[in-house]
Amino acid sequence: MNGPDPTAEFDLTMVGADMGSVQIGSKLRWQKEELFQHLFEQAPDAILVVDSTGIILFANTQAEKWFGYAMSELIGLSVDVLVPDTHRGMHRKLRENYQSAPRPRPMGPGLDLHVRRKDGFDLPVEISLSPLDTRSGLLVTVIIRDVSDRRAAENHIRELNASLEQRTADLEAINHELEAFSYSVSHDLRAPLRAVDGFSQALMEDYADNLDATAQDYLSRIRAGTQRMGRLIDDLLNLSRIIRADMAPPERVDLSALAETLIAEMRRHEPGRKVEFKVQPGLCVEGDAHLLQVALENLLGNAWKFTSRKESARIEFGADDGADTRTFCIRDNGAGFDMAYSGKLFGAFQRLHGASEFQGTGVGLATVKRIIARHGGRIWAEGAVDQGATFHFTLKECRGQS
């Protein structure tokens, strides 16, 4: 250390220290002093030793570097100078209080501390204090750690959080708009359709005598068109409702029983159809019961619909063995599809069959895909034209058998 040495007059012998152990061989003692000097200088933190009036007695190289003072300036300087001026008055009081009840204070987060460099720039720091009771009075060792990098990282995280919050708010706003949009679709798009259908019907009823068969055929085509568009709107609304819906807490859903019920309903609806239905019993998963019913309804409904031209229709529902998630499949021997178009299968309003062949709006499988995805599962299909189709999907199997 350079410059005047205010420590020269200090007896640094610790109060109560065992003098015997300090007075060891001079060579050893010299080595020990050198070792401590080395540690002091090479410490990654700035270290100051101040006396009871706050005057700096020792400082290491790191302190010299950080604070921007030459060592000769640092030694003898009041430690208060290193405190940002906004806190300087308070610091003096805190320091005086510390003198009356000195105890070690470790570093730690929670305190927002800064030191002022010679160039006026404030550094964020953490500070530890340890009192040293010497024969010449109380000295305090101050270890100062630069936490600029950590603070910068914290700020960065805070900024990321803020931008995430902003994005969430934006998404919520979009969702809200979507809700308003689908409400408007539900209400406003249906009203004109009702008028088209209603007045076509009124024409047929009130002016039947003036309308020949062709005119009446046209009117019934108009009505069929409006009703089809009505179904499209309803399916679209259902899809958007499923996308928006909050998931119910997962419950145990017996897919086998559900499938049996759904097929029984379809049989009741079309008692003329002969369909062989095979279901593997006891298949049960965890999920939202309502959404899973909608999914199964669509898949089985498709199998039912696309086997309508088969002499002996067959629909199977089963599962492959798996670990925690299970792969289920619904297989039919119906019209099937060309694998070249399998990519289009799950897109909304995508149809692989003409309306004259099979009725439909092309929203069903898009809905199913959304539901399976919301349960963390996957769905894919295999098929060939006139060879039937198989839909595979994964869902979380329920724990424990009932």
Partner: protein, 150 residues
């Protein structure tokens, strides 16, 4: 015959014509008063605005209320009907295009007596109006009781 009116609150002229047609098809002969927005409906019921001075009129047999209306929307009309001592028991049927759960739940929550979604298919629409007429005009006892001669 001394019958109570039906108050139809409907802003869409097509829906108005279709509803009137459906009512006629079922020989419902009650006079139908049409209000084209929420404010008009409230004026009619409370004898204010264009209907001021006519405040002692009989309440309608039933109010057929659309939800999406200019000025004052259907749910607000319902809220004010239920908040008024004179009209709080008046039968109100929500007749709307919307089948959003939110509307249905809010409608019932505000004390709607029925909630009917207007079907696109006119035959279904006529059927719905028939059921409404049968129930609210024939079977249901009005909270103010029967009218003499009706």
């Amino acid at each position: 015959m001394n019958k109570r009116d039906i108050l139809l609150v409907e802003d869409n002229p097509d829906d108005e014509a279709l509803t009137l047609r459906a009512l006629r098809k079922h020989n419902i002969l009650n006079e139908v008063v049409v209000a084209h927005d929420g404010a008009e409906a409230l004026d009619y019921l409370f004898g204010t605005g264009a209907w001021s001075g006519l405040g002692s009129r009989l309440l309608p047999q039933v109010v057929l209320l659309d939800l999406k209306l200019p000025k004052i929307d259907g749910l607000e009309v319902l809220r004010r009907i239920r908040a008024n001592e004179r009209t709080r028991l008046l039968p109100v049927v929500i007749l709307t295009s919307s089948n959003e759960d939110k509307d249905r739940i809010e409608g019932y929550g505000l004390g709607a007596n029925s909630y009917v979604r207007k079907p696109i298919d006119f035959d279904e629409f006529v059927e719905a109006v028939k059921q409404l007429g049968l129930y609210w005009l024939v079977l249901n006892e009005h909270p103010e009781g029967r009218l003499r001669g009706s």
